[in-house]
């Protein structure tokens, strides 16, 4: 396994003491987090642990209540997604954030359309869309239908393809493979590795431990809105990480595994 060691340089993105509260719910409390160039950091945690909230805070969708952020070594404060993009942060959100009324091409290039003269260059954009989608093994019959009529996995592929445009320094993928088929999932994992090779910092959120163990360098665990340990993949096992996620060494997962084993022994 090629566990690329995290470089000793300063982190490309680093958060410290970030808190975020929604009404009576403390979604994030004192979170520290960093990612280096050429590193894939997995952010894992139970449902509602605050992973997406953290991603959205970094992406400028939410303003944190407390805490600070540095980007490329300089203190940065992003108050809108546009600012985060300018810094070089590309994000695939868990809810995809697509415009259902627009077609695939329009969604892919939203906010960075190509021009010929005074009009949008629909031809080049369509050609480019096909290229990106093929690259992700997408099975989309037409790029000229509204994304509302795409299947769940097709929509997710479109959202991921968006992050391939532009030249980001950090890519955040919030459960990018949740709705993807096996082939598409493999392509996205390939993509993550390509991004790392190109020296980008990648933040990957996933509930799939084997995917996490396969591509991540480090794993950052959140639990009920708090940091709950950072693990280096090459020196840890999925059991350890699952224990940190659920907050217990015996849990539904281990119980289920145990039960199945005993059943198999009996049968």
């Amino acid at each position: 396994m090629t566990a690329t060691l995290s470089p000793a340089t300063t982190a490309v993105l680093s958060l410290s003491g970030v808190s975020k509260r929604f009404g009576a719910v403390q979604a994030l409390k004192d979170i520290d987090f960093d990612v280096h160039a050429g590193e894939v950091v997995a952010l894992v945690g139970d449902n509602g642990a605050g992973k997406s909230t953290l991603v959205k805070t970094i992406a400028g969708v939410y303003m944190p209540d407390e805490g600070s952020m540095t980007f490329d070594g300089r203190p940065a404060s992003v108050s809108s997604p546009a600012e985060a993009q300018e810094l070089g942060i590309a994000t695939v959100f868990q809810d995809l954030a697509l415009c259902d009324n627009l077609d695939v091409v329009a969604n892919l290039f939203l906010g960075r359309e190509l021009y010929t003269g005074r009009a949008l260059d629909e031809v080049t954009m369509e050609q480019e869309s096909w290229r990106l989608l093929r690259q992700l093994s997408a099975k989309i019959p037409s790029v000229r239908i509204p994304v509302a009529s795409l299947s769940g996995g097709q929509r997710q592929t479109v959202a991921i393809a968006r992050s391939l445009l532009g030249e980001p320094k950090v890519v955040m993928l919030d459960e990018p493979t949740a709705a993807l088929g096996v082939a598409q999932t493999a392509e996205v994992l390939n993509l993550v590795e390509r991004l790392r090779e190109n020296g980008l910092g990648v933040i990957l959120i996933s509930h799939n431990m084997s995917d996490v163990m396969a591509v991540a360098d480090r794993v950052n665990v959140l639990r009920l809105g708090r940091n709950n340990g950072v693990f280096t993949v090459s020196q840890t096992s999925s059991q350890e990480i699952i224990a940190a996620i659920t907050g217990a060494t015996t849990n539904a997962v281990s119980q289920r595994a145990a039960r199945r084993e005993s059943q198999e022994e009996q049968s």
Partner: protein, 426 residues
């Protein structure tokens, strides 16, 4: 770097949370038990802008203060009684609008329907000598029929309600003129039941206080009963002190206006009818399956359909309620004016009714709002119009100030909600 500490947080002891009610066990919840908790929750809601209708009330108070400074007659008992009288008819119409807005639809024709209903009543009662109950029934039934037609057109053909009711606005205005016929304007005798009800029927002082006390008692009893049941079910309860404070606040909120109104003619039956309708519809929206269906359809019609809700029936029923309430509002207006004429329901009745619902806090996009927004919204609108009629102003200034004050009232409201704007999801 690689030597990070993989120490999973020690699991919180299960007993520490087991003592808490089932709905307060999550450790991310910021505790809010007791009076202190109540105050803290309130402050946090204040900060986060989640204040329900409080800002509209603040806007209303600002408007009242400003007009009172202009003319001390504004907050006189007599004028406040007038204000209640002026609010009832359009308020009733606005209540129907709240229902359609909750569905995410609109009814532009409530003005015409109210005018038509007034015309039917006047022609039936005065022209044809029907009995008053029959005439009222006929008027409201015609409203209901119109609503049913709207509902069918909407559900069968999927025509946007904006266009259906725009057609209705024109069509029923025509019908109203037709029904009124030659005379055009018809007096409803001052000694008829309807006019008496709308102009001169007031609760006695004692009766008004009895209503207030009864309302507070019902409130307190309901909440206590709910507390009991929640405790039995292992859920959190509202502290009795908080309940007592709330009940006392409600008592004051009701008793003070009643006291003031009682110094003049008192609480009118017509206004009481309007308020009672608001209370009933509030209950229906919040605490019945039908109301829940309305909110669900307004929020996500496809989800509601997939949940097995009979979406068509709900649409039709809401349009029927809206049109019937509009017809009732038309009757109240006719009773108050003691006449039905070509301009009954015309002018800005439509816009005022819709604006009242929106200003009161009901969303134009469905799924969000309460019956109380009709009450609050119409009070804002009528206060402006009533207050301006006490100040001597030319028409241009009157229009400009109305627009300005309206905007101000809503900005106060929106300012306090601003922090909610940056909402996103998952």
């Amino acid at each position: 770097m690689s030597a990070s500490t993989p120490t999973p947080e020690a699991q919180a002891p299960a007993d520490a949370t087991a003592a808490l009610p089932a709905d307060l066990q999550d450790e991310r919840l910021i505790a809010s038990q007791g009076i202190g908790g109540f105050v803290r929750v309130f402050l946090s809601r204040l900060r986060s802008g989640d204040l329900g209708s409080l800002p509209v009330v603040v806007g209303l108070i600002v408007i009242w203060g400003a007009f009172q400074m202009q003319n001390s007659a504004f907050l006189s008992s007599r004028n406040l009684v007038n204000l209640t009288q002026q609010s009832a008819a359009t308020g009733t119409i606005a209540l129907g609008i709240v229902l359609v807005l909750l569905l995410g639809e609109i009814d532009l024709s409530v003005g015409s329907i109210s005018g038509l209903s007034a015309a039917i009543l006047a022609v039936g009662f005065v022209g044809h000598g029907w009995s008053l109950p029959l005439a009222i029934l006929a008027a409201i039934a015609s409203g209901a029929v119109i609503g049913a037609v709207y509902g069918l057109l909407y559900t069968r053909f999927g025509v946007p309600s904006f266009v259906i009711t725009l057609a209705g606005l024109l069509g029923f205005l025509g019908l109203q003129l037709k029904v009124l016929g030659q005379e055009g304007s018809i007096n409803i005798p001052f000694d008829s039941g309807l006019v008496k009800f709308a102009q001169a029927s007031f609760l006695s002082d004692v009766a008004a206080y009895v209503v207030v006390v009864a309302a507070v008692a019902v409130y307190a009893a309901t909440r206590l009963r709910s507390n009991q049941r929640r405790a039995a079910a292992g859920l959190s309860t509202t502290p009795v002190v908080t309940l007592a404070v709330r009940a006392a606040a409600l008592l004051l909120l009701l008793a003070i206006p009643v006291y003031i109104l009682n110094r003049d003619r008192g609480v009118s039956y017509m206004f009481l009818l309007f308020v009672a309708l608001v209370v009933v519809f509030d209950f229906v929206i919040r605490r019945t399956r039908w109301g829940r269906s309305v909110l669900a359809i307004g929020g996500n019609v496809e989800a509601a359909r997939r949940a097995g809700i009979n979406v068509r029936a709900v649409y039709v029923s809401v349009f029927v309620f809206c049109s019937s309430l509009a017809a009732l509002g038309g009757l109240l207006a006719a009773g108050r004016l003691a006449a039905a004429n070509q301009s009954s329901g015309g002018g800005d009745v439509n816009l005022n009714a819709i604006a009242a619902a929106v200003i009161g806090g009901t969303s134009l996009f469905g799924g969000r709002g309460t019956a109380y927004s009709a009450l609050l919204g119409i009070l804002v609108i009528q206060s402006i119009s009533n207050g301006l009629s006490l100040v001597n102003l030319g028409s241009p200034e009157r229009y400009m100030i109305t627009g300005g004050v309206l905007l101000l009232a809503v900005i106060i409201d929106s300012l306090s909600r601003r922090s909610r704007a940056s909402h996103g999801r998952a």
